[in-house]
Each structure stands twice: as C-alpha cells, then as structure tokens.
Subunit: 342 residues, 2 copies
Amino acid sequence: MDHLFLRACRRQPVPRTPIWMMRQAGRYLPAYRAVRAKASFLEMCRTPELACEVTLQPIDEYGFDAAILFSDILITLPAMGIDVAFPEAGPKIGTPVRDSAAIAALHVPDPEAELPYSLEAIRQIKKGLAGRVPLIGFAGAPLTMLTYAVEGGGSKDYAHTKKLLYGAPKDAHALLDKLARTCALFLEAQVKAGADCVQIFDSWGGIVSPGDFREYPLRYAKQVIAHLRTTCPGTPIIYFVNGCAPYLDDYASSGADVLGVDWRVGIDEVRRRVGDGVALQGNLDPGALFAPPAEIRARVADILARAGNLGHIFNLGHGVLPETNPEHVRAMVTAVRELSAT
Amino acid sequence: MDHLFLRACRRQPVPRTPIWMMRQAGRYLPAYRAVRAKASFLEMCRTPELACEVTLQPIDEYGFDAAILFSDILITLPAMGIDVAFPEAGPKIGTPVRDSAAIAALHVPDPEAELPYSLEAIRQIKKGLAGRVPLIGFAGAPLTMLTYAVEGGGSKDYAHTKKLLYGAPKDAHALLDKLARTCALFLEAQVKAGADCVQIFDSWGGIVSPGDFREYPLRYAKQVIAHLRTTCPGTPIIYFVNGCAPYLDDYASSGADVLGVDWRVGIDEVRRRVGDGVALQGNLDPGALFAPPAEIRARVADILARAGNLGHIFNLGHGVLPETNPEHVRAMVTAVRELSAT
C-alpha cells in the first residue's frame, strides 16, 4: 500500500492525517544549524551530501510523513543568468531583470546539465530514506520567481513587479513563460531523479487582484502543471499560493492534486469553496508554534475538525519560523498523530 | 445637502461615486516633493502650516471628494513613549516593546496636550477647505500599531508580534488596550477639532488566522468604534483592513459605517458577504496605476460595475505608490467621475 502522504494526496482513506512542515529542514533545528555552521546556504543546496543530510534530519527527529528536498525556490535563477546571493536577511539579486533586453538574455536551463546537484541530492535522499516516507521535490512558481527577479529581493509593495505586469504586459508574459518552462523542466527532472511528488511554491501569488491572479500566477502555474501531467503522469502535484483566500474559485481550477492553504483562511471555508475534487494541505499559523503546547494542541484539533480526514495533509500555512522551539514542533506532530487517528 | 462623500458613507443616493485616494498627499505629487525638500517627514506632520499645505494639494490638483489629514499612523507612538524615526525605507523604532515592563511603562496620551499639531492642522485645513469637501481624520488601528511597536518596523513574518500574541497573550491584550485607548482618544479629538469622518487603518490586521482576527485586530477596532459612537455620534467611521478577504463575515460586524477593501478581492464578492448594511471603499490595485490610461479606465469601469452606485466610495486598495505618474491619477479620477455619473 502507498504511504499515508501519497494516499492523502489522492484523497484515498487513511488511518490518520499525514503531516510534514514547510521548511522542516531549517534553522529551528539544532542539527541543521550544526551543518550550516560549516557551509553557506548555497553550498548546502549545491552539495548533494549536505542537502541529503539536512533533508533527512527532520524525518529522523520527528517522523514526518514526507521529506522535502533541501533547496531554495531561487536555486534556478543563477542557471538562468540571474545572480543571487543568500544573506541571512533574505535573497539579493545583483542586477534585477526589468526590461525586454534583460528578459531576452535569460536562458531556460537544462536541469541535468545545469542543476545536477539537486538531482543528485534527490538520488541520495531516496537511498537514505529507503522507502520510509515519500520525497517531495519543489520549485518556485513562475510569478513568485518573477517578483524576486524583478524586485531584486523581497518587497513591501511590489512596485517594480506591478510596473512590469501592468505597464509592460508583453515583457511580463515573456518572462513568465521562461520561468514556467524552467520550473516545469526542473520539476520533471526531479521526478525522473526519484521525487514522489512535487510542490509549486507561489509564495507571492497572493499580491494581485482576482483578475490578475488568473492572468499571471494561475495561468503560468497551469502551464507547469500541464507539462507535468504529460511528462510525469501519476505524480501528485501540490500548488501552494500564500494568501489564497481571495481566489478560491479559480484556485480550484489549477489542475493540481493538492492545494496548499495558508493560515489566514479557515480550511473548512476553503473546502466549501473548492469542492471535493482536490486534497488540501495546511494550515496552522507558523507563529502559533510560539504558543504553549496545550494551545498548539487545541489549534491542531480545530484544524483537524475543520479539514475532515479525507484528503487532508497537515502542514503549517507557510514555512516554520527560525525562532521556533523544536519541542513545540514535536507537540504539533504528536497532536496530529493522536487526534487524527480513526 | 451633505457632500457626496458623506452621503456615500451613509449609503444615501449620490449623483456619482465619490473618490479619494489613500496617501493622496504624498510623494507621487511634485508639489508635495517641493515641500518635503524643505522639511523632514516628521516636521511636516508636526507643523500645522505644512500639514495643511500638503493636505490641500491633491484637492486643488484633482478635485478629490474628501481631504485626509496629512499625518502618519505612527504619530502617536512618540507621545506614548516609543521613539520612532521615519527614514525613506520605512519607520524604525529605537527600542521595540516586547515585555510586560515595557508595556506597563507606556502612556496613553492626552491629544490636546501631546498631539496638538495634528489638531491645529485640522483646524487650519478646515479653514482652507472652506466647505469644499469633507476632511477625514485618521489613526493606526491597535493591532497595526502593535506590530510596529513590537517588531521595531516593518516585518516579513511578524515573528515578534506572534511571539507576543500567542506566547504572552496577557501582555498582548494589555498593549492592545493601551493602543486602543490612544487611538480612540486621538480620533475623538480629531472629530472635535473638525474632522468630518475618521478612518482606522489596520494595514496589518490581515496577518492572522480568522479566529485570531476576532481576538486581536477586530476586538480592539471595535473598542475604538464603540468609544467614537458614544463621544462623536453621527460621525462616519471607516475601518480598513488590508487583506480583508478571509474575514468578511466578521469584518461586517465591526460596527463601522464603511469598510475599506484592498485590491486582492473582488468588491462584488465583499458586498455579497457583508450584506447591504455598510458602505464599501476601494478597491483599485495601487500598482494598476502603472498601466496605460485606457487600461486604468477599463479597470475603474470594472470596479464601478462590481460595486454598484449605492454606498460605494472609490479608492485604491492601499496607499498610492510614490513612483506613480500623476497623470495616471488624473486618468483614474476622470474615469470615476465620467463612468459613475447617473
């Protein structure tokens, strides 16, 4: 029988709700910080042995029901021709991409030749997991990648992004098409290297109006999903839009098997709006892990009750915060295992 | 007969939809930048003559249907005992407020004694307006003020805020109560000085789960609104939550006359969910002003059609971006005036 996590992705019955956690291989874990002390973030992403080591840490520590490749959503940008640095304060791009010449100069990388370390990491992780739990591959969604490429980093108001989307839509579409092809080929290669499932991270898909959601983030996520349906039939696809509440009707039409749900919206409300044809993943506020364990347990119980036990993968609504107490993560995992058992 | 804007706040029939724009007295305007070249941002807020001058600029330039006091949502923090600087990159707080001792030390200011410049500015603006259009007073909502006080500035993940809300809820409530009393007294004083309407800005009210929305931002906004209902009966109150889509059922219960709507959600969807008992204000994406004028006009038409002409105040979904072309603002104003006329 397939593992819990894959069964939940397919909305098949499960004896309990599976759980993993976005950024589960991360700074909140002492074992991760020990590796990070010896290598830069980018070196860790690009050294298969290190990526493998930290990917397995949270599986060993908490028994999460899925592993996720240690990497970064921006890992493809350097291979496209965009220089990225990863200081602690967040990614910084040397020369932001803001005109048609810069967009034309970008290259759609061949993953086996230009991102070999991620694929080799997947092969090593699969060996290390030895079938214990499935492995999730991932990539940044086209619109989210665009915001970093165009802004040069994070942003408060996404002014450069919107200047491009609304002031020069042809250029925006050309850039999104290249980012979508990059994302699609990279995810396909991850599946061929052994990933059992893939997640498309649209961390900034939620910065636009509903009409623009259809025109930009959703349209290019669909392009990626369509590519994967043809090249990787049967592999579950998770699409995660951070701030999905305003777009639920369209979100349901993405074609993904699983929709990620951030913490700002009730997961029962999402279920009502998207119907029963798709699994949902989420949606505890990462900040709720600052609460005492008893409060964490109560919040887990509330989400489990709202989500129901068919087609639900428990997760945070976004990545775990670095300041999180590892024992609070354990309280969450224990609560999900105990309270969802049928 | 009352002015268009006040009639729309009360859901009375209007011959066309009124329009004003958040941050309409701001850096996108050359006349504003000329004043700003001679004084710091804080000096402008604290010098009634300068605050009055820039408040009137967009009224003279575009004929907006309401003026809004030139000030800042954080203007009350120094009077409470929290040091704030306003560099171009965004506000910075010297010593963030993160424990019960720091919260206990905070003071609820007497507006006439401790924020006299804003009240004097209101008196001067009212003279300058000479009845042309109503004047909106405003203040930061309690939860939004808390995020700045606790984070020390803007934030990507609001980790410190959530540590306080969920890890030390008693402290959080004590701080929110002081912020709510500060906000309420300041808005009351603004009305007594001549403001015709007030807006409570909850720019970061949208960072929490629906349950936490009721417990934190909404609860303390209601405390402010209840105070104003008693002390300033008849004065319309606008409550603006940026990122309101997940909370619409509760948003409708705030008690405000007008709900601000950000650009991420369809204003027709908001109307369906909040019912007919309240006016709505919004909701063009500030970034849409980067589009060519014809596209701006099409987007204005779309919003007007979705909002209907009863109880709608046209506005952006958040503050106008500094890089905005002033002629594109004019295109928006013209489109609203022409397309909403009945």
